[in-house]
C-alpha cells in the first residue's frame, strides 16, 4: 500500500508532453500533480486540492488559485465552511467540499496552515512606478483621507497574516487579490460580522486595488512565514473573524 513517489518521474513525463509544459517552471508544474507516500495520511487525503493549490498549498503556475500554505488555520477553516455552506461563492470549491463535516474541514485547514513550502519567485513586474508607489503607500500606511487603514495593521508587518482569522498576503498574485477585493466591494464575498474587509474594500478605487495587488505581488518571501499571534496589536477596525 505504499505507492511510489511520482514527483521525480513526472518531471521527465512533463517534458515529453508537447507544448503545455514547456513554458512553465518544471517544479511548479510537478508540484501540482497528485503524489503522496501513504494512502492513509492527510497528504493523500488532500490530493483533491493539489492541481489548483499545489502539493503543499504553495499555489501553482495558474495566477488565480491562491497560495494557502501557512495561512492561519482559523482563516482556512472559515473559508472551507463558507464554501461548503454556499456563503462564499466559487462553484468548483462549493462542489468539492459540499459533503465534508466540520471536524474534517478543520483538519484540512490545520494541515495546510502547518505547511511551510518555499515561495515561488515573483512574476515580472508589470505595473508602472507610480502604481507601485501608491500600492506601497496603501500597504504600509493606508490612506487616512479615505479612511483606509494600512494592510499591515491587520495582515501583519511582514504581511504573513494574524491568528486566528486573517490571511497572509505574501505570495498572492494580482489576479486573485483584485478579484477578491472586487467581490468584497460588490457584496459577493463576506466575512463574519462586523465585516472589516467590506469597510476597506468599499473605500478602495479600482486603481487602488490594482496598485495594492501589484505591490503585494512583488514582495520578497518573508524570513518567517508564520502568521502573527492574535491580539498583539490593536486593530484599526473591528473584525468578526478575530472574535
Amino acid at each position: 500500500m505504499k505507492p511510489r513517489c511520482l514527483r521525480w518521474r513526472t518531471i521527465s513525463a512533463c517534458a515529453t508532453i508537447a507544448g503545455g509544459c514547456a513554458s512553465l517552471p518544471v517544479l511548479a508544474q510537478s508540484e501540482a500533480i497528485p503524489s503522496f507516500r501513504e494512502v492513509d495520511s492527510m497528504e493523500a487525503r488532500v490530493q483533491g486540492c493539489v492541481t489548483c493549490h499545489g502539493q503543499s498549498g504553495q499555489g501553482t503556475s495558474n495566477g488565480y488559485f491562491p497560495r494557502i500554505a501557512g495561512k492561519p488555520a482559523g482563516y482556512l477553516y472559515n473559508q472551507l465552511v463558507a464554501f461548503r455552506d454556499g456563503t462564499r461563492h466559487y462553484a468548483p470549491m462549493n462542489y468539492l467540499v459540499a459533503y465534508l463535516p466540520d471536524a474534517y474541514l478543520k483538519e484540512i485547514a490545520q494541515h495546510f496552515a502547518s505547511q511551510r513550502p518555499p515561495f515561488a519567485p515573483a512574476d515580472p513586474m508589470k505595473a508602472d512606478l507610480e502604481t507601485m508607489r501608491r500600492g506601497g503607500a496603501l500597504v504600509a500606511g493606508g490612506d487616512a483621507g479615505k479612511g483606509i487603514p494600512a494592510c499591515v495593521a491587520c495582515h501583519g508587518v511582514a504581511l504573513t497574516g494574524m491568528e486566528p482569522g486573517i490571511p497572509g498576503l505574501v505570495g498572492l498574485r494580482p489576479t486573485y487579490v483584485v478579484a477578491q477585493l472586487t467581490r468584497w466591494r460588490v457584496g459577493e464575498r463576506h466575512a463574519a460580522e462586523p465585516d472589516c474587509m467590506k469597510r476597506v474594500a468599499t473605500r478602495l478605487s479600482d486603481a487602488d486595488m490594482n496598485a495594492v495587488a501589484a505591490f503585494l505581488s512583488q514582495q520578497a518571501a518573508p524570513t518567517d512565514p508564520s502568521p502573527e499571534p492574535a491580539n498583539v496589536v490593536r486593530m484599526p477596525l473591528a473584525c468578526g473573524s478575530q472574535k
Binding site: I17, V39, Q47, C52, Y99
Partner: protein
C-alpha cells in the same frame, strides 16, 4: 551479598512498573485520540423511554431515511424551514416550511392531514403537490411511520418563515395540469409485503421504494416529468443536475448482481466501497440520509437492490463502437500515467476504498460517459460519514486538460484493462464544460 540482588530486583520491579505506566498512558492517549463519533440523533441514551419519546425518535430516524432535510432546508437556513430553490426543467420550485409554526409551517396540521399528503400528494388545503415532492414513493409509507414522522416534525423548533411562491413557466404554473400527470404516473397505495420474499427483502423493498425514493433519480424522467414503472430503476439523467443516475438493474451500469451485500451496504452507508465511490447527488443522499440508517436497514436495502431483476435496455456496445485510434489511446495513456496512476494505479486497481478502482468499474464503462467526464473535469470528494469521516478526494483537471486531452483520458479509462466502455470525443467534453461549475 544479598544487597545487590535486592537492588536488582527493585530495579527490575521499577522498570516493570514504568512499562506498565507507559502502556496505560499509551492506551489512554489512543483512547483520547480516537475519532469522536458524530452525534447519533435520537439514540443517545439506552435508558427505557416513554411512548412519546419512542415515537419521536422513530420519526426522526424515518425522516432521515426519507431525507426530508435535504430539500426542506436551505444551505445556511434553519432545519426544515424550507425556502430552498429547486430548479426543474419547468421552472424553479421553492420548497415549503415544514416546521410546526402555526402561521407559516405545518403547526396546524393533524396526523390525518400529514398522512393524506404523504399518501396522496394532496396538501392540507386541497392543493395538488408538484411531484418534486416524492409522494409517488412516499405513498408506500405505512400509516404508523407517517404518524411517527409527523410527531417528530411537530417536536422540532418552529420557524416563522413565509413560503416563497414557485416560479414555474407557463403552462406548468397551472396546478390543474397535475390531474393529468397524476392519472398517467401516480399510483396510490401503501407498500404490500411480498409473501414469497423474506422479511429482510421486504424491509429493503419498503425503504428503497418508499422513504428512500430512489426511483426519483434512478428511473428515467420523461419530458412530462413522469417516470414509467416498466422502466423502474433503469437509470437516467438527473434533470438540471447534469449527473447520470445509473441503472440499478443493468450489470453494465450500477447493476448489483455481482456485488457482495457488504459492498452495496458500504456504498450506501459509508459512501465508499471496494467497488466504487459515491460523488455528486448520491454523495448528498449518503451524507444527509443513508449514513444515519442502522446496519440492519442498510443491509436490507442491499439485499433488495441486489435481487432486482437484471435487464439491459440496450445491447452491449459492438466492437465497432469500441474502436479507438491508437494515437488517442497513446495520449490517454500518457495523461493517465502522469495524472491518474498515482491514486488509481497503472493497472486501474486503485487503493479501495480510499481511491476507487477504475478497472472493471461499471460507473466508468456504462453507456453514458457523463459521470466519468465530470469526475475528470471537476474531481470530487466522497461524503464525510460516520464510518468514513475523513474521505479521500480527487482534484479537478478542467484547467489542466483541454477537450482533446480530457476526451483521450476518459476514453482510455473506459477501454483499458478490458473495460467494456466506448470512446468519447472532444465535443462531449466541451458540451459538459459549458454546464458545469468552473
Amino acid at each position: 551479598m544479598r544487597q545487590p540482588e535486592v537492588t536488582v530486583m527493585k530495579l527490575a520491579f521499577k522498570i516493570l512498573l514504568a512499562l506498565v505506566v507507559l502502556a496505560v498512558a499509551g492506551a489512554a492517549v489512543l483512547w483520547w485520540l480516537r475519532p469522536s463519533a458524530l452525534p447519533e440523533p435520537g439514540r443517545a441514551s439506552t435508558a427505557p423511554k416513554d411512548a412519546t419519546t419512542e415515537v419521536i425518535n422513530r420519526g426522526e430516524y424515518l425522516a432521515r431515511a426519507g431525507d426530508c432535510v435535504a430539500c426542506h432546508t436551505e444551505a445556511t437556513g434553519k432545519p426544515f424551514a424550507g425556502g430552498r430553490a429547486m430548479p426543474t426543467p419547468f421552472g424553479a420550485l421553492f420548497v415549503p416550511n415544514i416546521t410546526p409554526d402555526d402561521e407559516t409551517g405545518i403547526g396546524r396540521w393533524t396526523p390525518d392531514d400529514f398522512y393524506r399528503m404523504m399518501h396522496t400528494g394532496v396538501s392540507k388545503d386541497g392543493t395538488l403537490l408538484y411531484p418534486a415532492m416524492p409522494f409517488a414513493s412516499y405513498t408506500k409509507v405505512t400509516r404508523a411511520d407517517s404518524d411517527a414522522i409527523f410527531a417528530y416534525l411537530m417536536s422540532v423548533t418552529p420557524v416563522r418563515q413565509q413560503n416563497r411562491p414557485h416560479e414555474l413557466k407557463f403552462p406548468f404554473n397551472n396546478r390543474e395540469l397535475l390531474i393529468g400527470w397524476r392519472t398517467l404516473y401516480f399510483k396510490e397505495g401503501e407498500f404490500i409485503p411480498d409473501p414469497k420474499q423474506n422479511a429482510e427483502w421486504n424491509r429493503g423493498a419498503y425503504l428503497v421504494q418508499g422513504l428512500g425514493h430512489c426511483a426519483m433519480c434512478h428511473t428515467a424522467i420523461n419530458a412530462l416529468g413522469g417516470s414509467s414503472e416498466s422502466k423502474a430503476f433503469e437509470g437516467g439523467m438527473i434533470p438540471n443536475q447534469n449527473w447520470y443516475a445509473p441503472s440499478l438493474t443493468s450489470n453494465r451500469e450500477a447493476g448489483l448482481g455481482n456485488w457482495e451485500i457488504q459492498e452495496i451496504a458500504d456504498l450506501l452507508q459509508v459512501g465508499v466501497s471496494h467497488r466504487g465511490t459515491t460523488y455528486g447527488p448520491m454523495a448528498e443522499v449518503v451524507y444527509n440520509s443513508l449514513q444515519y440508517l442502522s446496519d440492519e436497514d442498510v443491509k436490507a436495502m442491499a439485499v433488495y437492490l441486489r435481487a432486482l431483476p437484471q435487464r439491459d435496455s440496450e445491447p452491449p456496445p459492438t466492437s465497432q463502437a469500441r474502436l479507438v485510434s491508437p494515437s488517442v489511446m497513446e495520449t490517454g495513456r500518457k495523461i493517465y500515467s502522469t495524472q491518474c496512476a498515482m491514486c488509481h494505479g497503472e493497472e486501474g486497481k486503485g487503493h479501495p476504498p480510499s481511491f476507487p478502482p477504475l478497472a472493471g468499474n461499471q460507473s466508468i464503462t456504462m453507456a453514458s460517459p457523463v459521470n466519468s467526464i465530470r469526475m475528470v473535469l471537476n474531481g470530487g470528494y466522497a461524503p464525510g460519514t460516520r464510518k468514513n469521516p475523513r474521505p479521500h478526494g480527487m482534484p479537478p483537471f478542467s484547467h489542466i486538460l483541454d477537450d482533446e486531452e480530457a476526451a483521450a483520458v476518459v476514453t482510455y479509462i473506459r477501454v483499458a484493462w478490458d473495460n467494456s466502455g466506448t470512446p468519447v470525443d472532444a465535443s462531449q467534453i466541451s458540451e459538459l464544460r459549458k454546464l458545469l461549475p468552473e
